[in-house]
Amino acid sequence: MPDSEALHASHRLEYPYSRSVGPVIGAFLTGLRDGRLLGVKGSNGSVIVPPTEYDPTTGDDTGDMVDVGPGGVVESWAWVSHPLPKHPLTTPFAWALVRLDGADTALLHAVDSGGPDELATGDRVTVRFRPAAERIGAMADIEAFVPEGGAA
């Protein structure tokens, strides 16, 4: 039988799930909306960013929330030379692990440095939030990190 005679149907599956973020990630996201960067103290005193409800190594509850940043250090990065429509920036940028000042873990986000020659591991960067009116309490409230001193 030719293929064209075999019946074929599309099967679209979609549902609008929701998520409850809980008290710790909730505080972090609320902080972003307010233009603040928050971490949480782990069981050995190290500061975890983004914060978790539990120390990822010991499983113990994490402690107090602390302010971190707004500056930090690029730990590693990969250059995106041709951004796609769903990327956070329309111009070429880096995906980078940024360890914020006061934090012991790195956060994944975009760095808007202008070009790959303007970025190196170990460089200092600082946060660029979206305008307050556009912030909703989500990771995208951080538009990108930029070289400290605006060197780009």
Binding site: S10, T57, T58
Partner: protein, 384 residues
């Protein structure tokens, strides 16, 4: 079984429609930390973690056990996921118990959960498939015709289902963790509630709950905790396909075989006389008389007569669902484990207001899918 296995810690969340105050990780930790505290242990004392939940499509969270490992203190330890639809909470506890009875581990944490408010199980269970007639019926719509078949076979009067609905909700009033607390529940209120799937009315169906359950299981030489252990006397699982010619969905063979196995291990020849209390998965009222027969508490056709006589009531001779049962709390993935956990609490004497005095031998049962997955254990206050 080679090594004796004991329940030394139990924990559960307050079950509610929406636990917006916690994340999924926070929900499972709430139950797990309570179980650890009951066992007087910490995360570091645990050798392995076994976690269960119902289908991933319920929350749209694929393989959640992977990201929940650090939330359950499982970094660097064996951890795995069990999945047997609605019976999963029971199967999960059994897999954990096997790790003890086989001598592989000394202390195992087992956890099960569902966060129904993040999703819609009714949708997830009713996804239309290409070329198939869309039922859009959910679980209740699937089970209703089998309930009608039971009523026709047994001659049970219509009000039996309502009696179960009232009994289990009254038991829930004794359980601070139960989702539904309907103080003025009575036969009239059930009868006047909306018909959902004939013959099941709204108040004859389980709620949708967020919740989690956890237990710490241990080997005999690792027993600890604030209450005496519940000893596992028997455990069994059985399953059968959803559809095959000659399948009896009212009295499934997998359930009969499963109970025969667990009774043989526990030395039970007369369940009604030898079992002091039972927690049985009754998400729709009529499954009490149906499972009374399937579990051999009476002859075929007589289940509804036991319910009618009050034998399964809190003050009856075989109290069923002292916690309020699935009819009062249904965090699906955890619902099976809550059955197993309640009977452990009963033989440990820690059930508080829903304690059956002198309970020494108890049966926990869970079922899932289209009445096709069964898991059971018998626990006792004495060593097997």
């Amino acid at each position: 079984m080679a090594e004796r296995c004991a329940v030394i810690g139990v924990g559960q969340t307050h079950h509610k429609s929406k636990r917006n105050d916690v994340s999924i990780a926070g929900l499972v930790r709430e139950a797990a930390k309570m179980a650890l505290a009951d066992a007087d242990l910490t995360w570091t004392d645990i050798d392995a973690v076994v976690i269960g939940k119902a289908p991933d499509m319920f929350e749209g969270n694929m393989m959640p056990e992977l990201y929940l490992a650090p939330a359950l203190g499982a970094v660097g330890k064996p951890m795995f996921r069990v999945h047997t639809a609605g019976s999963v909470g029971g199967s999960t506890a059994l897999v954990a118990a096997h790790l003890i009875s086989s001598g592989i581990h000394k202390r195992v944490l087992t956890v099960a959960y569902e966060k129904q408010s993040d999703s819609d199980a009714m949708w997830a269970l009713s996804v239309p498939q290409p070329f198939a007639a869309p039922l859009l019926a959910g679980a209740g719509g699937y089970f209703a015709p089998h309930i009608r078949a039971y009523m026709r076979r047994s001659g049970a009067p219509e009000y039996i289902g309502r009696m179960v609905a009232v009994k289990d909700r009254r038991n829930a009033m004794r359980n601070p963790y139960a989702h539904l607390h309907i103080a003025d529940i009575d036969m009239k209120m059930v009868e006047e509630s909306m018909m959902l799937w004939d013959p099941l009315r709204y108040l004859e169906a389980c709620p949708s709950s967020d919740g989690a359950a956890a237990m710490v299981l241990s080997a005999e030489d690792a027993v600890s905790g604030h209450f005496p252990p519940a000893w596992v006397h028997g455990m069994a699982m059985r399953s059968e396909p959803t559809m095959f010619a000659g399948r009896d969905q009212v009295n499934p063979r997998a359930g009969r075989d499963c109970s025969a196995d667990v009774y043989a291990q526990a030395g039970i020849t007369d369940p009604r006389r030898q079992i002091d209390v039972a927690e049985v998965y009754v998400p729709f009222s009529w499954y009490e008389p149906m499972w009374l027969e399937n579990l051999g508490f009476c002859d075929l056709g007589d289940g509804w007569k036991l319910t009618e006589s009050g034998a399964t009531a809190f003050d009856g001779d075989i109290p069923w669902n002292t916690s309020g049962g699935v009819l009062s709390s249904n965090p699906i993935g955890a619902s099976g484990m809550l059955r197993f956990l309640e009977v452990a609490m009963q033989v440990r004497g820690q059930a508080g207001e829903h304690q059956i005095e002198g309970a020494r031998v108890a049966l926990g049962q869970a079922y899932g899918g289209g009445s096709q997955f069964f898991s059971m254990w018998v626990v006792g206050s004495d060593k097997p």
